[in-house]
């Protein structure tokens, strides 16, 4: 409980002991600001004080015990003295410390001491305590031992660092070769070997990074690990003559006539370049298969192309089928050897299909790159920017095979019907932007009036296969050879 101190000095003798500024400070501490003093409280204090004085005078007369105020003054004096001594000791210690550690000493020194005495001017002599039982010459031995150890350590470190330098040299030689070969490597040793910058929109951008192997060579670590697989195309001929895949599910009815894949060609250079090239090859093959499956799902599913449970594409063509699948790089060779078919032989029927698919994918990249480079059309333009969808790959290939088959069968029919063919010409719309547009063939017959037959593929154009013309008047669509034969008999009669 705090003891209230009167504002006016109650005891003249005591009050005189305390200087006025200290008294004011004390009153402010105990009662708060002078602004907070109010009349009522002062009156209350005045009421209390006479009784205090009376009791005090009574006790003063009774015994010599010091009053509360005296005790407090004593206590405060003792605390002040202790504080002074502690400060003095701290200054002494600080002054001593400043001799060895200047900053630590100066920071704890009092400002007065700092102003009068230069730091570090107080020194204490070191006390020499001889180590019992050891001659001073022992120090030489310690030093020699320490230097021996240091030399061993330095030698080991030099060998280690020399080896490190050689490894670094090897690594950077590899990196330099990689950069010189045209690969884009950024400062974090990240490389982009994929086709994202070349027109691909495949989800895998083909990023990787280089790490240094134990023997110093750089090694490519792709961000996504992929299996060593490639696209393999097999062409089967139908032994029974059935043209529908549904009718001839039995695998034995088909005979493998060709199998092809695009092999990874080794390039000159260090292993790291080989691995970059190999990763790029794998990515390309993976993307090609992905695009083929997407295309089948989007447009070809209704056109005699189906996807099996194992992810194989089976395209039914007249007199056989084409199978496209991902195969392990190592096993494909053995299969090709088994069937005695050279995968690199251009006469191999699968060769042209396989290479055409690869080239068309490259062509698609090029087209998209041109799209990206072209300026965007105004927003209100009716001509929309070409979509980001992959141009067809498998469709044009199958369309050409179908069209060629139709042409040969039609020519056979005309031969049987003894109708003379004047000319056969390819009237495909030449589209300079895309090599593989819709295909059309026209057969002109030697008749009077002139008859011409136009053949198309249902795969890429979606229209009927045949269209015939007599005297410049087109027929309605003709769906198959039987209908065509009937029409020809009528027209030539």
């Amino acid at each position: 409980m705090s003891v209230p101190v009167s504002v006016e000095p109650t005891n003249a003798a005591k009050a005189r002991d305390v200087p006025l500024d200290q008294l004011i400070a004390r009153i402010t501490q105990e009662r708060g600001s002078f602004a907070d003093l109010d009349e009522r409280q002062l009156e209350k204090d005045e009421e209390v004080e006479p009784t205090e004085d009376e009791s005090k005078s009574a006790t003063d007369a009774g015994n010599d015990e010091p009053t509360f105020y005296e005790k407090r003054a004593q206590l405060s004096g003792a605390v002040g003295a202790a504080l002074n001594e502690a400060a003095l000791n701290l200054d002494l210690v600080s002054l001593l410390v400043s001799g060895t550690r200047l900053e630590a000493g100066v920071s704890t020194m009092s400002p007065a001491l700092r102003a009068q005495i230069a730091p570090g001017s107080l020194n204490a002599a070191a006390v020499q305590t001889p180590v019992p039982g050891l001659p001073n010459s022992a120090g030489y031995g310690w030093k020699i031992m320490a230097y021996d150890q240091a030399s061993v350590y330095l030698e080991a470190a030099s060998k280690r660092l020399r080896g490190e330098v050689e490894l670094e040299q090897q690594f950077w030689t590899d990196m330099l070769t990689t950069v010189k070969s045209g690969e884009v490597v950024n400062r974090n040793l990240q490389i982009r070997y994929g086709f994202r910058d070349a027109g691909s929109v495949y989800h895998d951008k083909g990023d990787g990074r280089f790490v240094r192997q134990h023997e110093g060579h750089a090694k490519l670590v792709p961000n996504t690990e992929r299996l060593s697989r490639r696209v393999a195309v097999s062409v089967f001929a139908n032994n029974t003559g059935s043209t529908s895949a549904i009718e001839s599910e039995d695998e034995e009815e088909f005979r493998l006539v060709g199998r092809a894949c695009v092999e990874h060609s080794d390039i000159l250079g260090p292993d790291v370049l080989q691995s970059v090239s190999f990763e790029r090859y794998k990515l390309f093959e993976e993307e090609l298969m992905h695009n083929l499956i997407q295309e089948t799902r989007n447009t070809l599913a209704a056109k005699q192309v189906r996807i099996t449970d194992t992810g194989k594409l089976v395209c039914t063509i007249f007199g056989g089928k084409i199978e496209i699948e991902m195969e392990d790089i190592n096993t494909t060779n053995s299969m090709a050897n088994m069937s005695n078919l050279n995968t690199r032989d251009p006469k191999n029927p699968a060769f042209s299909v396989c290479y055409a698919l690869h080239f068309l994918q490259l062509e698609a990249y090029e087209r998209r790159l041109h799209q990206w480079q072209s300026e965007p059309k105004p927003l209100n333009s009716a001509e929309k920017r070409a979509s980001q969808e992959m141009p067809p790959l498998l469709g044009p290939v199958l369309a050409r095979i179908q069209c060629a088959s139709l042409l040969s069968r039609t020519l056979k029919l005309l031969e049987i019907m003894k109708l003379e063919v004047v000319s056969t010409e390819n009237i495909s719309e030449s589209n300079s932007e895309y090599l593989c547009g819709p295909i059309r063939n026209r057969i002109i017959l030697n008749c009077d009036p002139q008859i011409s037959i136009t053949l198309g593929s249902t795969i890429d154009s979606g229209v009927a296969e045949f269209k015939a013309e007599k005297k410049g008047v087109s027929t309605a669509a003709i769906n198959d050879l039987v209908e065509l034969e009937a029409w020809l008999r009528w027209a030539s009669s």
Binding site: Q128, T129, P130, V131, N136, A138, G139, Y140, W142, K143, M145, A146, Y147, Q149, A150, Y153, L154, A157, L161, V165, E168, W172, M175, L176, V179, K180, S181, G182, V184, V185, N186, R187, L189, V235, A237, N238, V257, I317, F318, G319, G320, P349, S352, V353, A356, F359, L360, L362, E363, P396, V397, R400, I401, C403, A404, S405, L407, S408, L435, C436
Partner: protein, 112 residues
Amino acid sequence: MSNNDVRLQSLVSQVDDATARFLMNELKLVKLASNKDKSLATVAAETTEIESSTSGIVRAVEDLLVISRRLKEAWVLGQRKPNEAVNSDDLERSRQTTQDIISQLSSINEWL
């Protein structure tokens, strides 16, 4: 000051720092060799200092190696091979190859 200048300055100051540390530690090693007017306790403490100076030397050399790696990074990486002009003949030839391959597709029917 361009970005390159800042990088250059930082590399130079790192080289200076590592070299200074290397030389200082070497000097210290030589100075510590003397045992004149030294108590055994001081000598004992100095043997530890020899050890620390030795590791300091190795550390400084390692730092120099790291700096050399950074220099190589700056020199080798980040630079790009200037784009070789695409030869229009090559482009035409590749288109021709594609067309040849596509025109061969019709021959597949001979096998069926």
